[in-house]
Symmetry: C2
Subunit: 289 residues, 2 copies
């Protein structure tokens, strides 16, 4: 099914509204595995999971309100594809106003910013801006959606992925375990794709069993950087960019390797234990320096 | 602070309304630890945690709508006590209509059914009946609330606890692990007592760290019985009665020992690993025979 570039580029997705409260923030953090292996007194646990005056959003919560805006992707004129061939390839999130409020009502508006021809597939870049009811921009997301089999349409190849680790041992390594029901819990934050719960859908996608959400792994990587380089202060978190290489299986431990590049820039790579498989590459977190 | 028996006995608590949906049911089950250690394809996991046509309530969800009705206990005329001296001592739950709907709006009405003088304290028995909007009774709960230091008022001692295990090895033993953030997750189902999250409140209660909710342990015990004696079919579950002996610490594994007494009656006792401490005693589950 060819992509009609002229129609699709710049196409807008219908705006979607979303509200959250403290419970929703805490559910998100617990779904991302906060506190699984740690006494609640460990720094960085209760600030994400307990509704006292110190409650803060795990910054990657910023993807959640924008997620619904993607649901209408298949309604875009000139864009037809088999949804089973869709892969979430890349994600960028920027926090535009800090601290993230612990409750809010927001609107997310998306548009197709770029389409790259990657040969084996097409990479759609969808930008979603999330704004509070008073019009202040809060989050900017870029979803990199890979459509397998839709390449070769003669488009630009797009920029090469950057953020490779320097040739030295990581400056910090943080391990964050997950448990077997992690995907079942994470999906309550909004991404109900049955690929993450139903074995028959997982099999259709080519997996032995339901896989963890890439955006759950994403949350773990961000949290690792905040722990290692921001004294567990999530309000210092400015942006994150990742490439999803392979899915994590619920129950695996995510091992995030980090390199401090100076000026608040952290380059990251994530593997899983015990298989030592790279699951996230070409990743960068920017913190307040 | 003396209890004015004549005023308190039979006193009604203000009715409380509550609604749930599928997400709420799934959150409850995950908070109770369903699927922590098991591949989602394990029988009994997805039926509680995935919103397809097979979704069923873990029957102990029946305590959740009634819980809010207890919040007004301190407003009862003639009943004054220090809330820090309150312990949840016993719980009975009966499912009056099956299957439990996966979404509903209900009303819970409570009254003080009995007050027993246990010497070291008073045992308040609070009955809460939960009814659907069309007036059909759905759940009956009895909370046994122990008020330390409020005994010796000259009341009846009340019945002795029954449901002791027979003098033989258990007919079935089921282990259900918890993880360190279990109480943080369980509390999103409604019991936000900071004793289960905040180390300073836990210390005030005499605990080294926040303890797991007794009703979370309760859910694990019920689930163990359904797994061992009802082929994982929660619609066969009729009632449960337990005495809480000691709290479980998040991260401990709950080991439920069960004896089949015939006619659908199961006697239970729960311990924790690795300490082999009894946490629930005098417990009975009744299943459809």
């Amino acid at each position: 099914m060819p992509i009609e570039l002229k129609k699709v580029l710049g196409a807008k997705l219908p705006p979607m509204d979303f509200s959250w409260d403290q419970d929703r923030l805490m559910l998100y953090a617990l779904g991302a595995g906060v506190g699984i292996d740690a006494d609640p007194t460990t720094p960085g646990v209760l600030q994400y999971t307990y509704e006292d005056e110190n409650l803060k959003a795990l910054p990657t919560f910023g993807v959640v309100p924008s997620f619904a805006a993607l649901m209408n992707l298949m309604s875009v004129d000139g864009l037809s594809f088999n949804p089973m061939m869709l892969l979430h390839g890349e994600q960028y999130l920027e926090i535009l106003a800090r601290p993230i409020p612990t409750s809010a009502t927001v609107r997310s508006e998306g548009s197709i910013k770029a389409i790259y021809d990657k040969g084996k597939g097409a990479l759609l870049v969808i930008e979603v801006t999330t704004t509070t009811t008073d019009g202040a921009p809060l989050f900017r997301n870029e979803y990199g959606i890979f459509l397998r089999g839709e390449g070769g349409f003669g488009g630009e190849q797009g920029p090469a992925a950057g953020h490779l680790p320097p040739d030295r041992a990581p400056d910090a390594v943080v391990e964050t375990p997950t448990v077997a029901h992690q995907a079942l819990l994470y999906r309550l934050s909004g991404d109900k794709n049955p690929l993450h719960a139903d074995p028959s859908f997982a099999a259709l996608g080519g997996f032995d069993r339901p896989i963890l959400h890439g955006l759950c792994t994403f949350a773990n990587v961000a949290r690792a950087a905040i722990q290692a380089f921001a004294d567990n202060d999530p309000t210092r978190f400015r942006s994150i960019r990742v490439r999803f290489v392979r899915p994590v299986m619920p129950g695996e431990t995510i091992v995030t390797e980090m390199w401090d590049m100076g000026g608040g820039e952290i380059v990251l790579r994530a593997k899983t234990k015990p298989n030592d498989t790279v699951v996230i590459s070409n990743a960068q977190v920017v913190l307040d320096a």
